[in-house]
């Protein structure tokens, strides 16, 4: 091996190791003094410019999870279905018959703020690569979006761009965007959240891992050429924002869904036809070629040597630093058995794609980069891929101790006006004017499209279907991160259960402010704890996820927002249940008890402009009972619709069930009218044919309350113990459907 002295300095203007040290440029790249000193001490020399950049990328929070790992370790992630837990491109669960479902979530928050279209588009591209790099065919995309409020013109600009970006990428590559969630709150105005989740299907025999095993095996680069886009995006995503963001635009990548479709199809073909010679596959995501290559080697306990002159380049005169840290999209790394490369190269060439051997697996445990006949980096892989962990202090947020323990008392002097106002709230109103831009049906497998609870995608060739959803009500977490996180998992599961499916697993997107703030770190810790409790009760392990920290702008942190992506399995797609009322005369039941649950509710936000007070309770037992009851009623074919209750409470659930097939209803809640708006968890609204109501009541007695029945009239009639109201279905639908599109217009 060539000694360190042969290392070359590349560009004339590149800093020398001494200049790197003296100028402290590494601090601008996100490395701390302590980390830099540790590097110097471990290497027993000064790192050169390229090596310093390499450490800054690999040790960024986005790649290394150095701050969140102590917390992430606590996730419960094993049960009888788990074939792959956290640690690979995506997690994998057994769904029987030799098949498996693969899923993961990814965030693109900062890029989407700076460059909404490309930020969101490349988010979709990135998460899809995580799925097909496992050897799985992507079958669905979901999103989870948080924006500021629509009265802010800049927010409207971001909303337009993000929606168009998700559509632009997902529609073109031909993977349906089947569901998601969107809500609005001013805490996100400087820091929107764009999380995307992708789901894939795989034959268990074809599973791939991102590992570089076998000395002498070849590292093959496939897909797009490397350009200067998104250089050091990983450290960009690991830093707080200031409003002076325009200069950061260059950290945003540009996506090409056409190219990705070619890469996806070719990669899957390679897996089908050459699984015997492919050793590992890894997508290039955060910190690009650098993190993909070093992590593949680290996972296999090997070393790696790359010749950077061989990397396909889109721009002239790129330096090693740029080549390694570029986040150009649509690129993959394959490890292929030595001397067998040609078959793989030919396969990609056939699709007009670059496929080039750029290096090999070694057994020396070192990460070596050659460039222009010299060595520009020579680092111990183990050290490089294990950033020093940071245990951070945490304290309970100040605000939590000031919260009043009484529940908010809604003002419903005018019940009709209150209902119409609730239905037009940004968070409640129909998002169809936004998700209509997503192709939710391509591949022709979508059974339940956006607009229901969970979405449902059939597994072609079987009777099975997969239910999927993304959920979190961050207002609850703001009031109480532990209980709020439990509620988020429970709500996701209720959505899955409403389709008849059994919840089987979770991916998460942990969106938080700066972990260096002990209150934020506490929120993160408590959220993970809350997720874990319910995940275990439901037997839904957390098999993958993503962390996005530093979601603050000018010191204003977002609400703790751990997005829960959940997947469920329905054995017989013919039993798929939907939220809409089906027949006039069907009896409507409420499952679950309604209590004073108003702190953090939609009606509190609407009437007071803020979220305040101690969060109401979550009853784990009641949740499990309600879910079990609904699933068994669906499997016994006793019910005609099922809809879970969440934001806005019973009134919103009833009306949404009514709108689907334009059927009215006539009910008497026998409770104070305010309970129409209560957000007590663990509740569903179901409708039952009169002939089956006895049988339904026999399994539901004690848990279900009869409310009334479905009608065919345009009228909605609601009695409560305090007030009665009649609504026109047509008028109410209009408010619900047009609220968002009206606000998005100028």
């Amino acid at each position: 091996m060539k000694g360190i002295n042969s290392m070359t300095t590349i560009a004339e203007n590149e800093l020398t190791p001494e200049q790197v040290r003296d100028s402290k440029i590494y601090t601008q790249w996100g490395l701390t003094e302590v980390e830099y000193e540790l590097i110097v001490k471990t290497l027993k020399r000064l790192p050169n410019f390229t090596e310093t950049g390499i450490f800054s990328g690999m040790w960024s929070e986005h790649v290394s999870y150095k701050k969140s790992k102590p917390i992430l370790k606590k996730f419960w992630s094993t049960n009888e279905r788990v074939l792959q837990g956290p640690g690979e491109g995506a997690g994998i669960l057994d769904i029987g018959d030799g098949q498996a479902v693969v899923f993961k979530a990814e965030s693109h928050n900062h890029p989407s703020f700076v460059e909404p279209y490309e930020g969101a588009a490349t988010g979709v591209g990135g998460i899809l690569r995580d799925i097909f790099s496992m050897g799985a065919q992507p079958i669905a995309v979901l999103d989870s979006l948080r924006f500021g409020e629509l009265d802010d013109p800049h927010t409207r600009h971001i909303v337009d761009g993000v929606i168009a970006g998700i559509a632009g990428y997902g529609n073109a590559i031909g993977i349906p965007t089947v569901g998601g969630e969107i809500s609005f709150d001013s805490v996100y105005s400087g820091n929107p959240l764009v999380n995307v989740m992708a789901v894939g299907l795989i034959d268990q025999a074809a599973m791939q891992v991102g590992q570089a095993r076998g000395v002498g095996n070849s590292i093959i680069y496939v897909g797009a050429k490397t350009g200067r886009d998104g250089i050091n995006g990983a450290s960009f995503a690991s830093a707080e924002f200031s409003t002076d963001h325009e200069s950061d635009r260059s950290a945003v990548q540009v996506g090409d869904p056409f190219l990705e479709k070619l890469v996806m199809d070719a990669t899957l073909k390679a897996v089908r036809e050459h699984s015997d010679i492919i050793v590992g596959i890894q997508d290039m995501g955060a910190a690009g070629l650098l993190s993909s290559s070093s992590e593949m080697a680290a996972k296999a306990g090997m070393g790696i040597t790359l010749n950077l002159n061989l990397v396909p380049q889109r721009e002239l005169h790129m330096t090693p630093y740029e080549l390694m840290l570029s986040e150009s999209q649509e690129r993959m790394l394959l490890v292929v058995k030595r001397d067998e490369e040609q078959a793989i190269i030919d396969l990609f060439k056939e699709a007009d794609l670059d496929a080039v051997v750029i290096g090999e697996v070694t057994d020396n445990g070192r990460y070596i980069l050659e460039f222009d006949k010299g060595i520009v980096a020579d680092l111990p892989i183990d050290f490089l891929t294990h950033a020093p962990k940071q245990d951070l202090p945490m304290t309970k947020p100040e605000r939590m101790s000031t919260f009043n323990d009484t529940q908010y008392e809604p003002d419903i002097a005018d019940l009709k006006a209150t209902i119409l106002a609730i239905m037009s709230q940004q968070t409640i109103a129909s998002k169809a004017s936004l998700f209509r831009h997503f192709d939710s049906m391509v591949r022709a497998d979508t059974v339940i499209k956006p607009g229901g609870d969970a979405s449902l995608v059939r597994v072609r060739g079987t009777k099975k279907a997969l239910a999927m959803t993304t959920d979190v009500n961050a207002r609850y977490l703001y009031l109480n991160p532990f209980v709020g996180a439990k509620m988020a998992v429970a709500e996701a599961a209720r959505n899955i259960v409403s389709t008849g499916a059994l919840p089987i697993g979770i991916t998460d997107g942990l969106n938080f402010g700066s972990p260096d703030n002990p209150e934020v770190y506490y929120e993160l810790d408590q959220s993970v704890a809350g997720i874990n409790v319910v995940a275990q009760q439901l037997n839904t392990p957390v098999i993958s996820g993503n962390v996005s920290l530093y979601n603050e702008t000018d010191g204003q942190a977002i609400y703790p927002t751990p997005m829960i992506g959940m997947v469920g399995l329905l054995d017989d797609v013919n039993q798929a249940m939907t939220i809409g009322f089906k027949n006039p005369g069907d009896i409507i039941y409420l499952i679950g008890k309604t209590e004073d649950s108003f702190n953090g509710s939609e009606i509190q936000k609407m009437q007071t402009g803020k979220i305040d007070g101690q969060l109401f309770d979550f009853d784990d037992e009641a949740e499990l009972v309600a879910q079990k009851l609904v699933r068994s009623a669906i499997h016994k074919e006793l019910i005609n619709s099922a809809h879970d209750l969440s934001e806005g409470g019973l009134i919103v659930g009833l009306l949404e069930s009514s709108f689907q097939n334009t059927l009215g209803f006539d009910i008497d809640t026998q409770q104070d009218a305010k309970y129409l708006f209560s957000e007590t968890p663990s509740r569903f609204v179901v409708s039952v044919s009169p002939e089956l109501s006895d049988e339904f009541e026999s399994i539901a007695s004690g848990y279900a309350t009869k409310l009334g029945h479905v009608t065919h009239s345009d009228e909605i009639s609601i009695k409560t113990s305090t007030q009665n109201v009649h609504l026109s279905l047509v008028e109410t639908v209009k408010v619900y459907q047009e609220s968002i599109s009206c606000q998005l217009k100028d």
């Binding site: 529609n171 049906m441 798929a576």
Partner: protein, 222 residues
């Protein structure tokens, strides 16, 4: 009797079309755009998607791919040619159907089930429907706004070449045009996706009669 579904780089509804045709018992296979011979096929389907990325103009590049000369030859021989969505855009670019598909009047991709009216049921593509029947078929496009100059439009109408019209024009198409055929009646294009509306499990079977029509059309010709 054999059918081909053409797969252009960037096509993404090729398999949806293939499965739908198979469901109707048609012997069908995928043929790639690099190929140049379609002699063995009796009917040719151009599916939806974003051929070659559709960056220049929808269908503009696909039109010059090698397979298109074979498609043109087949069209001239009187074989059935069906373009759906991107396939329709390609057929117009290739001059096998008149007009052009422009950006939707309110720009942006729309995916929705929309009502279509069958305005000519005396065709190879609609004979299983009743005249003036309204069916629900999904659309999924950003550039489905049918445009042709007045002369061409008049000709289309006079020859009854318009087969489907939108009930609720979603994209600004002139004369509410959703699907047209050539004068000879063997080349057809539509923006909506009947292949997404053939199975009860996915919630809509209004597209079944489209395939039944074609099936009887192919049988008639064979």
């Amino acid at each position: 009797m054999k059918a081909a579904v053409i797969s252009f780089p960037g096509s993404n509804c090729d398999f949806d079309m293939l499965y739908a045709l198979k469901d109707f018992g048609i012997d069908v296979q995928i043929v790639f755009a690099k190929e140049n011979n379609l002699d063995e096929f009796d009917a040719i389907f151009l599916p939806g998607g974003f051929s070659y990325g559709d960056y220049l103009r929808t269908g503009a590049i696909a039109r010059f791919s090698p397979i298109m000369s074979a498609v043109t030859k087949a069209a001239n021989e009187g074989k059935l040619i069906v373009g759906v969505c991107n396939g329709f855009q390609i057929l117009t670019e290739a001059g096998l159907l008149p007009g052009q598909l422009l950006v939707n009047k309110n720009p942006g991709f729309i995916c929705e089930e929309v009502p279509l009216k069958v305005v000519n049921n005396n065709t190879n593509f609609s004979n299983a429907y009743s005249l003036n029947e309204t069916i629900m078929i999904p659309i999924a496009h950003g550039e489905g706004n049918y445009f042709a100059d007045d002369e061409v439009l008049t000709e289309l109408e006079n020859n009854h070449q318009v087969v489907f019209r939108y009930g609720n024009n979603p994209n600004g198409s002139l004369n509410d045009i959703a699907g047209i055929m050539n004068e000879k009646g063997n080349v057809f294009g539509m923006m909506p996706h009947p292949e997404r509306a053939v199975e009860k499990v996915t919630g809509n079977i209004d597209g079944q009669n489209f395939f039944k029509s074609i099936l009887s059309g192919i049988l008639n010709q064979a």
